[in-house]
Every structure is written in structure tokens, then in C-alpha cells.
């Protein structure tokens, strides 16, 4: 199975995303922003970072890239796409997911181990979780405040499109504690926190069991393997 990992100029977590894909047992295909060929991948990860410096608006310039255009087309055709942090911002700027992401309420970049509730397990990227499972993965962003107008929020909640919600504390002032979204079809998922930083014991968040041993993020990647096989 082949999973594409996109690199824009300024992408930072592409190596981490590739590592996560490998640990999950899939083959990594590096996708370059300037290409518009998805090389027959079975799924795509848009990793975190500061594509194009996050200038103008996070993800806005990356949303214009040829590879993004190709991904949008394929996503509308059902290709599983995961947007992490800056990747989530790209999905929002490409209107694959609604709303917007703005500067954190406290105005500072924040890096912490963040507790989330998985509110949606029938997507390509969450099917290995249990409904309402509580997970901890790293969060690190300066512009992760989710906003949307009233009716959009109503629709998101009504149609159960909120995939992840912040628990214990809302780190960036996101409306309704929204940490991540899914699309109607469930193939596109975006979130601010970083599952790819919680896939290898020794380098993840602390758990009660042992320091840095958290690997809750791995299920994102094993989920898509299952989804693709069943598809």
C-alpha cells in the first residue's frame, strides 16, 4: 500500500509523517508541491509545518500549489486525505473542510501534550479508535484557533462532522473546543494536533506508564490501511 506525504517549501513534519506511515506498515511516496501527479497513491498526508512561511494566511499559498489542486480533485473522488496542523489549514483554505483557523487566543505559539476525544470512528483515519476514546498527542501551533459562522457550526455539530475535541483545556480558543473535522464522506480528516509525533515509544508524549511512551497517533495511520483494504 502506498501513502503519499506532501512536501511544500516550508513543510517541517514530512519526515515525521513518513516515519509514521512506515511504522504503520505502508510504503511512503514523497509528493512534491510543484507536481500535479499523485503517483497512484492510496491515500495522502498533508503534514505540518509553515508552508511558504505561513505568510498571508496559514495554508493559503500552499492551497494554490499544483499538488494541492490534484489532491482536491482526488479527495472529491474519495481518496483518503489527512491534514495535520498546517495540512489542516491547507484543507480549510482549499475548502475541503469548512471554517478557518486563526491566531491562538493567547497570541503565543503553544507546544504541549494535548488530550482529545475521538468523536467519530467511521472515517478513513479514525476507524481503529473506539467512539469517544480519549487520546493524548502533541499539539504545536500558533494559529490553531478554529472559527466558523453560526450556521456552519450548527451544521458541523448537527451532522456529526466534529472528529476531535480538546479535553481538559482548550489550547488555542477554538470554537466548541473543535480540534479536528471530517468531511461528509469521511475520507477527508483534518486536525491541529500531531498524531505523527505519537507513533514511537521514547519520542511521544508522557503517559502514566512511562515518559514519552505515548503512541496514540499510530491508529490514524493503521486506520487508513484498513480503510483502503476494505475500499
Amino acid at each position: 500500500m502506498k501513502i503519499g506525504v506532501v512536501t511544500f517549501p516550508g513543510t517541517l513534519d514530512d519526515r515525521d509523517a513518513a516515519r509514521a506511515v512506515r511504522i504503520a506498515g505502508a510504503e511512503v511516496v514523497n509528493l512534491w508541491h510543484a507536481d500535479d501527479n499523485l503517483q497512484k497513491v492510496d491515500a495522502v498526508v498533508l503534514p505540518g509545518g509553515f508552508s511558504y512561511g505561513d505568510y498571508l494566511r496559514c495554508g493559503a499559498i500552499a492551497a494554490q500549489a499544483p499538488i494541492t489542486q490534484a489532491i482536491v480533485k482526488a479527495a472529491n473522488g474519495g481518496l483518503p486525505v489527512l491534514g495535520i496542523c498546517n495540512g489542516f489549514q491547507v484543507l480549510v483554505e482549499s475548502h475541503l473542510l469548512p471554517g478557518g483557523l486563526i491566531r491562538n487566543e493567547k497570541q503565543h505559539f503553544i507546544c504541549r501534550d494535548q488530550k482529545l476525544r475521538v468523536e467519530n470512528v467511521d472515517t478513513a483515519w479514525t476507524n481503529q479508535f473506539e467512539l469517544n476514546q480519549e487520546i493524548t498527542i502533541p499539539l504545536k501551533n500558533g494559529e490553531g484557533g478554529y472559527i466558523a459562522d453560526a450556521e456552519t457550526l450548527k451544521r458541523l455539530e448537527g451532522e456529526g462532522l466534529v472528529a476531535f475535541r480538546y479535553l481538559d483545556m482548550n489550547p488555542n480558543g477554538s470554537m466548541n473546543d473543535i480540534a479536528g473535522l471530517r468531511n461528509e464522506r469521511g475520507n477527508v480528516v483534518g486536525l491541529m494536533p500531531h498524531p505523527e509525533h505519537a507513533v514511537e515509544a521514547g519520542f511521544g508524549p508522557n503517559t502514566d506508564a512511562a515518559m514519552k511512551s505515548g503512541i496514540d497517533g499510530l491508529k490514524f495511520f493503521t486506520s487508513v490501511l484498513k480503510a483502503v483494504v476494505n475500499a
Binding site: V92, G100, I102, N104, E105, G145, I147, D149, A150, G173
Partner: protein, 82 residues
């Protein structure tokens, strides 16, 4: 050098944490009269020659499609300066 100025502001009914932070700071400094602060962008597009009507048309398109995100922002003003 002639410029097209595009002004973008966060949508009125959406929160603007940056503006809020500044407003609070100003209140702490004693500027009680200030009700609210909102912070947007002022974007200068520099051109070699005075813009033609179609340059302006182009600018309007860029402003809506790229320089602003209609979901969370409004383009409040586009004008020419030189």
C-alpha cells in the same frame, strides 16, 4: 510608483483575538473610550505603470480569491495610490 491598495478585515461577526488583546491592553493603559479594536491587513500591490481597468479587475479577483479568505474575512476596500 503606482500601487493598488487592498484592505482586508476579519468578518464583523467573527472573533478577532488579536484585536481583542490590543483593546484590553489599551484599556489597561487607560484608554477607556475605546470600545473595540479590530486588526486586518493592508496589502500594497506595486505596479510599474498606472493600473488599467483590467489590472483593477485582476486585483479585485486576487483580493477575493487569494488575498482574503471569504469564510472568515471581508475585503473592505480596494483603491489606487501613486
Amino acid at each position: 510608483m503606482p500601487k493598488i491598495i487592498v484592505e482586508v478585515m476579519p468578518k464583523a461577526d467573527l472573533l478577532d483575538p488579536q484585536g481583542k488583546a490590543v483593546a484590553n491592553a489599551l484599556h489597561r493603559q487607560g484608554y477607556g473610550k475605546i470600545q473595540n479594536v479590530r486588526i486586518g491587513k493592508r496589502i500594497e500591490i506595486h505596479l510599474a505603470a498606472a493600473p488599467t481597468e483590467e489590472d483593477l479587475q485582476g486585483a479585485r479577483e486576487i483580493a477575493d480569491s487569494f488575498l482574503s479568505n471569504g469564510v472568515i474575512e471581508d475585503v473592505v476596500n480596494i483603491h489606487v495610490e501613486d
